[in-house]
Amino acid sequence: MKPTELILYKDHLSYWLRQLRKERELIGPLRGEETDIVFKSVENIHDIVLDLPAILPTVKEFLFPQYEPMFKYLMTDEVVDLRDNTKRVIFGVRSCDVTALTLLDKFFLDGYKDPFYEERRNETVLISIVCGRPEPECFCAGLNTGPYLEKGFDVQLTDLGDRFFVQVGSPKGHSAVMRFSFLFRKPYKADYEDQYEVFLSSKATSQKRISLEGARQLILSGKVKDDFWRMISDKCFECGGCVYQCPLCTCFTVTDRVFGDIIERVRLWDACLFKGFTRLAGGILPNEERYLRTKRWFYHKLIYYPDALNGFGCVGCGRCTIACPTKIDMASVITRLKVTAGSEG
């Protein structure tokens, strides 16, 4: 469907969000300490930060939490479903995250449907904002995963100073907007011009280009030897930060917790970069050597993801660049990959 386009004056933003909050938990970007921004429940709508840096924490956790109780088993043979069905609206999401979710949908919902993800996904409305000022770490522009999107969003806002250019791209978004249609008006020519202005400037400032396709081709050509992965991984702290922060990483493990006669099953984030991730019975560690794990992470994102889900396992959000203590992130590694492969012809 072609997105419906509207204008919302910033003066009316809080009214709109307040109405949405009556039915849903409103999550928005709020100030943490110093320059930190965190996504949390909005108590006071005026605390929502609109002047945002490009790189915000991922909203993956609202659909696939780090610690998620799944069900409870009682000794009476009763099973209690612990699925979260909270209705949420998340304001201020980044385009890269929205793109990532369309891929996560394929991962979690194509074929076997993961009920936990499905429930949360169905109950969540995303209001994304076009990035006007990309940070040096982001490279979504070259990947068409941001800073603005043509499709895939529920509601996409472009900041035009005193007003937002609103695009509605899904039935969920439609309902969130249309029920309050009195707050919105049709865009005029000037609005389109302003929107185009923002579009151009954000395009102009998104300068970092990392070619995932180029990296994929290099790897497939066989020019990238294991020595490269050894060199890349030698500083890895095995912290899992790159995986935890990546909107497209989905490793998890489950564990059972026994509270007297109640057993609770919990799903937890995991990371393929931990050597215990592939631990086999008898203490065998097929990926004990660190480089094998690093290599697999990049292979997953650059080779297996496109093969299986028809899209790269990276949307260029730059979060791994920030999370990784030793800069073994997607952008840096691809840059080094090209240098290394180039120098070896």
Partner: protein, 676 residues
């Protein structure tokens, strides 16, 4: 969904992190991006700091031992029991028959109250905590040389250093965020020198790796200083203006020529000279050390040698230039600062100083004991001998962390009263008469002080599990029950009292910490911005003192019966006695089983293959575990991480003590390894 900014409960880096709270329980963790230490990163432990909080095995009710079983009781009964037993023991045997072990895992406020409880309520200076086993050498050694035993610089300054000298610290695994800045410095062209008998991960990135024999650190450092003097690389101006006692130090130093030192340490004389030049010739040189320096019978001497080295070269008192003991536990710096030590009150004010005592007496309103108390190992010894009757342990697990576990176990069993206050039923609690359930870091307010002296607020994210309570509340209730009113409305009131009595914390008040990301002591007044690096124009004690030190070999060299050297330490995915990590799915899975590192040529001699099980025996005990064959350890040396209760390395270690601060020699003892 709420996000509560707090501090990682694991190591002394003190990373800032948000706890994510959904429907009253913690659903995740994320790093603070603007935090001056971790800048948006965390290590594996920080990322998984949430899971143990709601673990089913958390202690949820007070328990009293009845024969062989633990009876669930109410708080009144538990505290009433403790109070009457303590009062009785105090009356019959005197206050010094009671001892307290405080905790480097607890907040500053709790440590302050615990030391107040010991001194004002019980009337004894018998209070200590696990710093005895890690950095007591630092506290002692640097107090005499500089007047202040803490990291002199801030962690972020590392990025701008030119030479980094790391001795006895497995930095990547134990202080990952410090290692992050070391990497940044290397990237910018800094030189890294690593001195460690083991080929630790950081050594792979060093420009020079000195693998000296275990326990020869003093000699190595003396050799380096000898060649600094010989090559005229001394900062004469600094030595003249800012230090004293150089001449008597120099007399001893003369004996440690690189050739002599080569004989002791096994390090080539040329390498010693090379390191001397690399370290001395650059202005922004930072020296880092940790357990490899401190856990020896010569721990204090080793520390003094480090201090001498930085004074000799004037590498101190400037940004990116100083001496940096890396403190282990999240709040071991704070527990020391708060005076959870037998000889000092908060802020390292000596109990034997009558003026200081008078000050504390005025505020606390009771007479205070004059004599220094017992250190951790002395408490164990006295308990063994039957002279110590009661021990109150808050948030520590000495059975697994002290050397010579059999002896510690026996000592604990001989006590008339053992109280353990913890979040889990740890190994030590299995011998307790009363067990009190404490709240975890996520369930209370307070402050932690990280290794760079940064005092940071921790904030309550969820309600304590079951009936557990924050340690400070428990102490207050017990104290009041024993007739000494402790009445605080919150931890901020406790900190106010700390500030009143403690010059280095004089300006530390919770409302100041509530915005921003902490303040670094010394912070003497409420308008003081904190101190990023120490000893700028003068040392805390005025002049720095050169302390003459001499090499003394380890207490227990290998012999015919026990031909190998055992050294112990930690691994990345585990923390100390693993009460928390062991209950965290992915951390537990990384290294679920104990192991011993054996060099391939030793393995060949012993006829063992990788993962074979072996028996390791010292004079004091014996354990069984699997061999991990690796060149990380040099020939003749084996390494065992001390985390595992099924094969506790400390069943083997030597309780021989440094004469000054009584730190045991956990880093060297003699063992034999036999295939099974």
């Amino acid at each position: 969904m709420d996000k509560i900014l707090t501090v990682c409960p694991y190591c002394g880096c003190g990373c800032g992190l948000y706890l994510h709270v959904e429907n009253g329980s913690i659903s995740g963790v994320s790093p603070s991006r603007s935090h001056p230490v971790n800048r948006g990163s965390l290590c594996i432990k920080g990322w998984n700091a949430h899971e143990f909080v709601t673990h089913p095995e958390r202690l949820r009710y007070p328990l009293i031992r009845e024969d062989s079983y633990l009876r669930k009781v109410g708080w009144d009964e538990a505290l009433g029991f403790i109070s009457s037993r303590l009062k009785k023991i105090k009356k019959i045997h005197g206050p010094d028959s009671i001892s307290i072990i405080s905790s480097a895992k607890c907040t500053n406020e709790e440590n302050y109250l615990m030391m107040k409880f010991a001194r004002a309520v019980i009337g004894t200076n018998n209070i200590d905590h696990c710093a005895r086993l890690c950095h007591s050498s630092t506290v002692g050694g640097l107090a005499t040389t500089f007047g202040s035993g803490a990291m002199t610089n801030s962690i972020s300054e590392i990025a701008d250093a030119k030479t980094l000298f790391v001795i006895g610290s497995n930095t990547i695994e134990q202080h990952p965020m410090v290692a992050m800045y070391i990497f940044e410095a290397i990237e910018k062209g800094a030189t890294l020198i690593v001195a460690d008998p083991r080929k630790i991960r950081l050594a792979e990135f060093s420009h020079i790796h000195l693998r000296h024999r275990c326990g020869t650190d003093t000699a190595l450092l003396m050799g380096i200083m000898n060649s600094i003097v010989a090559e005229g690389l001394v900062d004469i101006d600094f030595v003249k203006k800012r230090t004293e006692n150089f001449d008597s130090f120099r007399k001893i130093l003369k004996r440690y020529t690189p050739d002599v030192v080569e004989g002791i340490t096994g390090i080539h004389a040329d390498d010693i000279r090379k390191v001397a030049r690399l370290y001395a010739m650059e202005k922004r040189s930072m020296l880092f050390y940790s357990m490899g320096i401190t856990q020896h019978i010569t721990g204090v001497d080793n520390v003094k040698a480090c201090a001498n080295l930085v004074m000799l070269t004037g590498h101190i008192g400037l940004p990116s230039s100083g001496l940096n003991p890396l403190r282990g536990q999240n709040n071991v710096q704070g527990a020391c600062d708060m005076g959870a030590l037998p000889d000092v009150y908060s802020g390292y004010q000596f109990v034997k100083d009558p003026i200081v005592r008078r000050k504390f007496k005025r505020i606390w309103g009771v007479n205070l004991p004059e004599k220094s108390g017992l250190t951790m190992m002395e408490m164990v010894e006295k308990a063994y001998k039957g002279e110590l009757k009661a021990m109150y342990i808050m948030g520590e697990n000495p059975l697994l962390s002290n050397p010579y576990s059999d002896y510690t176990r026996e000592a604990l069993q001989r006590l008339e009263l053992l109280v353990v206050q913890d979040i889990f039923l740890n190994e030590t609690a299995q011998y307790a008469d009363v067990i009190l359930p404490a709240a975890s870091f996520a369930e209370k307010d307070g402050t932690f002080t990280n290794t760079e002296r940064r005092i940071q607020l921790i904030r309550k994210a969820t309600a304590p599990v079951g009936e557990s309570k924050p340690d400070w509340e428990i102490i207050c209730e017990l104290s009041s029950m024993m007739g000494y009113e402790m009445n605080y409305r919150g931890t901020y009131e406790i900190m106010e009292e700390v500030a009143l009595l403690t010059p280095i914390y004089g300006g530390i008040l919770h409302h100041r910490l509530n915005t921003g990301l902490g303040l670094q002591w010394p912070c003497p007044s409420t308008d003081h911005p904190g101190t990023p690096y120490l000893h700028r124009k003068k040392f805390a004690r005025g002049l720095g003192t050169f302390m003459p030190v001499d090499f003394i070999p380890p207490d227990e060299p290998p012999n015919d019966e026990f031909p190998m050297i055992l050294t112990t330490g930690r691994i990345y995915s585990r923390y100390h006695t693993t009460t928390m990590c062991g209950r965290t799915t992915v951390l537990e899975r990384e290294e679920p089983e104990p192991f011993i590192e054996v060099n391939p040529s030793d393995a060949e001699k012993l006829k063992i293959k990788n993962r074979d099980s072996v028996k390791v025996t010292s004079k004091r005990g014996s354990i069984r575990l699997n061999a991990y064959i690796t060149t990380t350890v040099p020939e003749g040396t084996v390494f065992i991480p001390f985390h595992y209760s099924v094969a506790p390395a400390n069943a083997l270690t030597n309780p021989a003590l440094d004469p000054e601060v009584k730190i045991p020699e956990l880093k060297v003892c003699a063992v034999k390894v036999e295939p099974l």
